[in-house]
């Protein structure tokens, strides 16, 4: 019953009582008619709720497919079509249907929220949406709001219709995979490139004096005749250029909304670079690391290898269970909002009782506590917790924060602050990240062949003071003649150039953006100085310039020239 019906029933009851007392027939008849009308409307509404909702059937197709699971791409639009069908008697008015979309999906042109105003048996509605970030996407079902014509009664239900999708990261096709300009005498096979080291290739590397044991066919007779001593031809090696990606997935890279996370920037550059490399025939592998540890994706080539890498990046982008320390009102409110969206019937006061509470006296604090009781009941029901644990959720802030965050994460919401409450602890200060990145580099070097390109995607801007811990690993990589490129995503999605630090206007957003850019620029300058000093290349911000920088390193590696830090 809505407030409107209550406010109509109240004068109805009062009028009936007064009419009986004063024996006023008109007042009595009017008031009683009103009450009877309300009762009849309630009965009709109850029948509709009981009968029509039971026979409501949904069928959803995403990009023309109705399977329970599938694959989507980040940054691409998705066409969703929903078919609604009901019983022989049809659905009466008014029914609001909303296809609940997770935070990772943004509805574009049409509406995912429709209203049925007249009796129908079946209907179709369509909408388009865009997927924002890589990871997993789950369309949970439909939220139904049934109302009677007058707005006296209202019922909210959620009809589960789950469909899960793996969202692969977006990528950009860049450059010419196989240059047509001939730069070498003999074109090596696809994926094989020159390396300026002595080997069995076809390009001449150098001439040297004959040494015992050299094959006679390698003797350069004309040169030997000119110099009057035996000279031997040395040929270059022909090796594949392997690309090794190191992707940082620590907490700092996962916060923010889907599509705005630093991890999304890194995924985009990594996938674009991998696509370019694989189309040129080069094998691509990856090392994915975060608080959970290190995961290695073996180097592979071809379409299958590319998709395996994308799958690994997609799985890696799914947020792991966070460890929140502090419970905030915003966290509670968001969890309540999601619960109201996906489990409206569980927040009904008639089934979700709150025990009598005298304290706190303040009405706002009292209301917040009652809401927390309700949320605790919903969470306890969903996760099958004991009643004692349910009550503990009300009193124990860290426990509530953990469950609320987990509930939001499972419902398709991105992480919310505070994920980590204080700095200088664990992964946040960069020490742990440097250590795990160093060990990943060391492991990659130990398993590496000749002529590899290491691309490190990590949020190093916040870790500049602890960069010295990473330097030995970088130096070791360069000493083994590999190339190293660092791609550090920018929190503002802008390259920290001089132009980007200019204050555009005195609006708060522009001032904050300029301040953030100035800070990023200072950090980036220090980072670039430190890394370029040892011979690594650095790109700040995960945009197309970063892709071109990595591809530049790849082309240098393909020409066979040694890395800067290397010695022939």
């Amino acid at each position: 019953m809505t407030g409107l019906a209550r406010w109509l029933a109240l004068p109805g009851i009062a009028g009936l009582s007064l009419g009986i007392l004063r024996e006023q027939t008109g007042l009595m008849l009017l008031s009683l008619s009103l009450l009877v009308w309300l009762l009849v409307e309630w009965l009709l509404f109850t029948w509709r709720l009981w009968f029509e909702l039971r026979h409501l059937k949904f069928e959803r197709s995403v990009n023309g497919r109705t399977e329970d699971s599938g694959i989507l791409w980040a940054g691409r639009s998705v066409a969703v079509e929903v078919r609604v069908s009901s019983s022989f008697f049809g659905m009466g008015s008014i029914v609001r249907i909303r296809d609940v979309v997770p935070e990772n999906m943004q509805v574009l042109d049409q509406e995912n929220d429709v209203t049925i105003r007249s009796r129908i048996h079946s209907a179709v509605f369509r909408y388009r949406a865009i997927v924002l970030g890589a990871g997993k996407l789950r369309l949970p079902g439909f939220r139904i709001v049934m109302l009677d014509r007058q707005g006296f009664f209202r019922a909210e239900r959620f009809i589960p219709f789950p469909q899960s999708f793996r969202v692969l990261p977006a990528f950009q096709k860049v450059g010419d995979p196989q240059p047509l300009v001939k730069r070498v005498n003999s074109q090596p096979q696809h994926g094989i490139h020159r390396l300026q080291r002595s080997g069995m290739g076809s390009e001449l590397l150098e001439l040297r004096e004959y040494a015992a044991g050299d094959p006679p066919k390698s003797i350069a007779w004309k040169v030997s005749a000119r110099r009057d001593k035996l000279m031997t031809r040395q040929y270059e090696s022909e090796v594949p250029v392997r690309l090794q990606l190191f992707v940082d997935g620590s907490i700092g890279t996962r916060t923010g909304g889907f599509g705005l996370r630093l991890l999304d920037q890194m995924n985009f550059v990594a996938a674009s670079v991998a696509q370019a490399a694989i189309s040129a025939g080069d094998p691509v592998g990856a090392m994915l690391f975060d608080e959970r540890g290190l995961r290695r994706v073996p180097a592979a080539t071809g379409d299958r290898g590319f998709h395996r890498l994308l799958d690994a990046l997609s799985e890696f982008s799914v947020n792991p269970a966070p460890i929140p320390d502090r419970l905030t009102n915003r966290l509670i409110e968001t969890a309540l909002g999601v619960a109201a969206d996906q489990f409206p019937e569980l927040l009904d006061e008639r089934v979700n009782h709150v025990p009598f509470l005298l304290f706190p006296i303040s009405p706002w604090a009292h209301r917040r506590l009652r809401e927390r009781y309700r949320l605790a009941a919903v969470i306890a029901l969903l996760y099958e917790l004991s009643p004692a644990k349910q009550l503990q959720l009300v009193s124990d802030d860290p426990l509530m924060a953990t469950y609320a965050q987990h509930f939001l994460s499972q419902s398709g919401m991105s992480w919310m602050e505070p994920v980590i409450s204080i700095r200088n602890r664990g992964f946040h200060d960069g020490m742990a990240r440097m250590e795990i990145l160093s060990s990943a580099l060391a492991r990659a070097v130990s398993q590496a062949k000749d002529n590899e390109v290491f691309v490190v995607f990590a949020d190093l801007l916040e870790c500049v003071p602890s960069l010295s811990h990473l330097m030995p690993a970088v130096k070791m990589v360069l000493a083994r003649h590999h190339r190293v490129a660092f791609v550090c995503p920018s929190p503002t999605f802008l390259r920290p150039t001089v132009e980007s630090t200019v204050i555009r206007s005195l609006a708060t957003e522009d001032l904050l953006l300029a301040a953030e850019q100035i800070r990023t620029r200072e950090l980036a300058a220090r980072l670039q100085f430190e890394l370029r000093r040892v011979g690594a290349t650095v790109s700040i911000s995960g945009e197309s310039s970063a892709i071109h920088l990595v591809l530049g390193q790849m082309s240098l590696a393909r020409t066979g020239r040694m890395a800067t830090g290397g010695v022939r």
Binding site: W7, L30, L32, L35, A377
Partner: protein
């Protein structure tokens, strides 16, 4: 599976939530006019400026309150002006009057969304709408309008039938149930006459049966999760004090052990420093 052809589905059946009806403007004007008309009929002894002022106030509240204020106004008028035991509302005229008032309430409440929509616009646009309606300048999408007319007619007929039934049932109830005048006589009759005891018990049984039916309807509507949650809530409400004591005890113990651990570590550190040679401190 025999799927319905989507092309058959009319585009107006599923419409975005914010979209309004073709006849929205006309409906708003009719609601306002009929409500103002009935309000002007009330309290004829009051001066015109006061009536005009009260009518305007009540019309302004319709956006949020629907027909509540109109009902209260009509009830207040009946309360002050209707003489006791009057025969004015006994016959068909009385039934018709009540029917019209309840119909007006239904009309207002059904179009509350339209009123809200209209109220969100500036006042000039509403006046402009009224002027254009009088000039006949309101443009209709004829195909949409043609589709909506039969639906609206059907809804009107259903509503009239429902309200007529309600008013008749109310009239029958009023005639059947004892009123204040006949209450003592009826009660005496029931007490003396044995058959009346049966009537009384029947009435009581009817009330209990209706109460059980209402509860049964509520229980039948619950989903499995709702039932589980209800049981859980009831259990928690009954054992709330005990469980809260247990939980608080656990939390207190945890805090205490954490504090003790911290103190132990601090004490161990101080012992270590105290045992060191003096020059190292």
């Amino acid at each position: 599976m025999n799927r319905p052809d989507p092309s058959v589905v009319t585009p107006t059946v599923l419409e975005p939530t914010h979209e309004t009806s073709q006849f929205g403007g006309l409906l708003i004007i009719s609601v306002l006019a009929s409500a103002a008309g009935i309000l002007f009929l009330l309290a004829p002894h009051m001066g015109w400026p006061l009536r005009f002022f009260l009518t305007a106030i009540i019309l302004l509240t319709m956006k949020y309150w629907g027909g509540v204020m109109v009902l209260i106004a009509v009830q207040a008028d009946l309360f002050f002006r209707e003489p006791p035991r009057s025969a004015n509302f006994q016959g068909a005229t009385g039934l018709l009057a009540v029917f019209l008032i309840v119909t007006l309430l239904m009309f207002i409440n059904r179009n509350r969304e339209l009123l809200k929509h209209a109220a969100s616009r500036p006042l000039s646009s509403i006046f402009g709408l009224i002027v254009s309606a009088f000039k006949g300048e309101i443009v209709f999408d004829s195909s949409k309008a043609v589709r909506q007319v039969p639906q609206m007619l059907g809804a009107i007929i259903r509503a009239i039938a429902l309200l007529v039934g309600c008013v008749f049932v109310s009239q029958i109830l009023l005639n059947t149930l004892p009123n204040r005048r006949t209450f003592n006589e009826d009660l005496r009759g029931w007490m003396l006459d044995e058959t009346s005891v049966l009537q009384c018990s029947l009435l009581l049984s009817g009330i209990i049966a209706a109460w059980i039916v209402c509860h049964e309807i509520f229980w039948r509507q619950l989903t499995r999760d709702q039932s589980r949650l209800y049981l859980r809530s009831v259990f928690l409400t009954i054992h709330h004090a005990d469980l809260r004591m247990i939980v608080r005890g656990r939390l207190h113990l945890r805090q205490k052990s954490a504090l003790e651990k911290k103190e132990r570590e601090a004490a161990a550190f101080s012992c270590r420093t105290e045992n060191l040679p003096e020059f190292r401190r």
